[in-house]
Symmetry: C2
Subunit: 449 residues, 2 copies
Amino acid sequence: MRFELTHEFLEVLRQKVAEQDASWVQEHVLELHYADIAEIIDKLNNEEAKFIYFLVEEELQADILMELDEDVRDRFLSSLSTKEIADQLENLDSDDAADILGELSEDKIQEVISQMEDDEAAEDIVDLLNYHEDTAGGLMQKEFFQAEVDWTVMRALVELRKQAEDVEKVYNIFVVNDSDQLLGVLSLKRLLFANTKTKIANLFQSKNIISVNTNDSAEQVAKVMEKYDLVSVPVVDYQNKLVGRITIDDVVGYIKEEADKDFQLATGISDPVEPDASIWRISYARLPWLVIGMMGGIFGAKVISGFEESIARIPALAFFIPLITAMGGNVGVQSSAIVVQSLARGDKDLGKIMPKLFREALVGLLNGLLLAALIFGIAYFFENAQLGFVVSISLFTVILCAAIFGTLIPLLLNKYNIDPALATGPFITTLSDVAGLFIYFSIGLLLYG
Amino acid sequence: MRFELTHEFLEVLRQKVAEQDASWVQEHVLELHYADIAEIIDKLNNEEAKFIYFLVEEELQADILMELDEDVRDRFLSSLSTKEIADQLENLDSDDAADILGELSEDKIQEVISQMEDDEAAEDIVDLLNYHEDTAGGLMQKEFFQAEVDWTVMRALVELRKQAEDVEKVYNIFVVNDSDQLLGVLSLKRLLFANTKTKIANLFQSKNIISVNTNDSAEQVAKVMEKYDLVSVPVVDYQNKLVGRITIDDVVGYIKEEADKDFQLATGISDPVEPDASIWRISYARLPWLVIGMMGGIFGAKVISGFEESIARIPALAFFIPLITAMGGNVGVQSSAIVVQSLARGDKDLGKIMPKLFREALVGLLNGLLLAALIFGIAYFFENAQLGFVVSISLFTVILCAAIFGTLIPLLLNKYNIDPALATGPFITTLSDVAGLFIYFSIGLLLYG
């Protein structure tokens, strides 16, 4: 039932496209779901892509365009004339059209817009370009169903039929007064079963209506839609005038990007990079974290070099350097990850910092005690007791410090509006390496005299 | 417009609840959106929660119940009698009811079901309990709109009106033949504007209908809904009979959980833990990774102890231990994270392993060369040239190896159906620590003679 793209299919397709075999493409490609056609085009070069794309019926072209990989879409669009781009934009939802237009240069934007034939659509798009892309205004689309509160169901059906062509996905109808101010929401289901003479005013839901403001951040929009289980949310301006709608699919994309970003920060990839980007770009994207790590390593070397004499005397001290740094890093990352997750879930209550810090310290204490006892046991039976004592006391101290710093740093970053997920990556491991080494050798020096 | 829960509000509320002031609760709490009421109940104890919950009108109780934190819900339900639980289940969608029931003990499940008054609802729930929770069958609900292909629009409207009470959110209508086999989909919008005498057969969409099978994994369902931009997807059995529907809100939850899981594995939290769990549970959840890290540290100590003589002779060798281990770890985590992300996006094509490995090796080569040159420069000017030479050659080798292992290990794990995200956490840092130390000291011994 579902299409699976295979190498064999792609090879045959390429051959047929090279032969300009439109009837083969018609039969084997154009019959597919637009998302599958987009998946195929993702694998083709511009010439091949164009051949297939312009065989597709116009209405589906827009859907395919939006399903393409961003890189492929940019490449594909840059191979089109401004007139061809303008034609494509007319078939897109306004939010998608604005997104695509926003990626072009200023000059090209003007040129494309002047070539659009549907003035109203052009106006909507230009309007959307004014909003920052990470706000509700930047996410919203201008296509939605809207009914006035004093209409009858019959009137609404007639008016909505006019709007129906533009609005692809309908979940509910926004109800407004005659100044376009949002009053409430009417579900399509309710409308479907209503008597045609009933007034909208007697049908619609006006209590606890959830809307977002054009200036709300994309993050806020995602949180609101998730909390209130919405598939679409109306967007209003400062006068409560209905100006747009955001649907769940736009927000799902945003939620995934945010989760990806945290993962990338935690694993030290500073810039989201497609796996098929150039070697140079990949290398470049990863360098910042590696350089931070190296600076940490050089600091660490400086710390250890201060204890050169002790090492010459007791080389066994060097054995446990990796243990101390690794454990400090692991505990620091764990603690910061917990805080980052709890912040991401919306616990922004700074009055709760102290209890959190206290809890993490307790967890650190517990795990530190346990692991310190374990390492002491191992060192006692297999190495020597004095070294075991130094290592276990240091390990305990390092774990406790790492737990506290791991909690404190993301909270501080968050307070100063820096993404706290920064603290789950190489940043915290580097810091805990340097601190851990200092603690370890100091205790070593103290106990070995 | 939107409710914000404050400490002050909560204090007043507690006071009023203690006074059993139902009219205050009516005015200040029950007027709120159910998601906000749930947020409030999340902060209360069972006694307080019950007082508010049973003041809420019955229809909203179910919505509130599903919005509660899982911990709070479990605690709250365990304070209810089986009869009270049975009453709550009757108001829930079948998928939610099955989820809640699934968390109870076998005995209690039987008891609750026997107390349900609506036999049909009870049957639906029992049926859903048969499916594994991570499959389409486990995610689906039994409430959906269904129309037979040979009905007229008029007949459909009459029949759908009967179904309407049960189906809370309607996005589209599934069209079946007289053996309940899925034939296609009809949008509510289309039905709304159709002539009442038209046959469903002439209205509905039968081409490229996307459905999932009861046995498809939750992961597959999420991918299908995302790829094809669906807000609801029909679920069929092996005979293509329509048995349920999955809506986007269930899948958004799943997508978020998956993303959280990758982040947790990368940061070494092996078990998803709520930030307010007990100290013991938190400590316990983090121990496995820490013990792995410690084993790695002990192995590392063993490796270094093999070079005890060299260290006694040239203590400066110890200075750069943290640099070597940290860089190996960072590069390994970066490489594995890239692979994990690309696997999570659905690139499961194992024919592409070799090119990927090759690319990562090239990136490692490039960054390794650059950083090795940098550290050599630093060591040359500030320390001594010979040590700089040892460190830079080791660093280069370690980075290259870490890049290759970081790519290979998640690919191997994936091949054997183990979650590849395991490889982005302490696992890979521990491995690269041990390997890195061995490389470093071997090269040191070789070059220092």
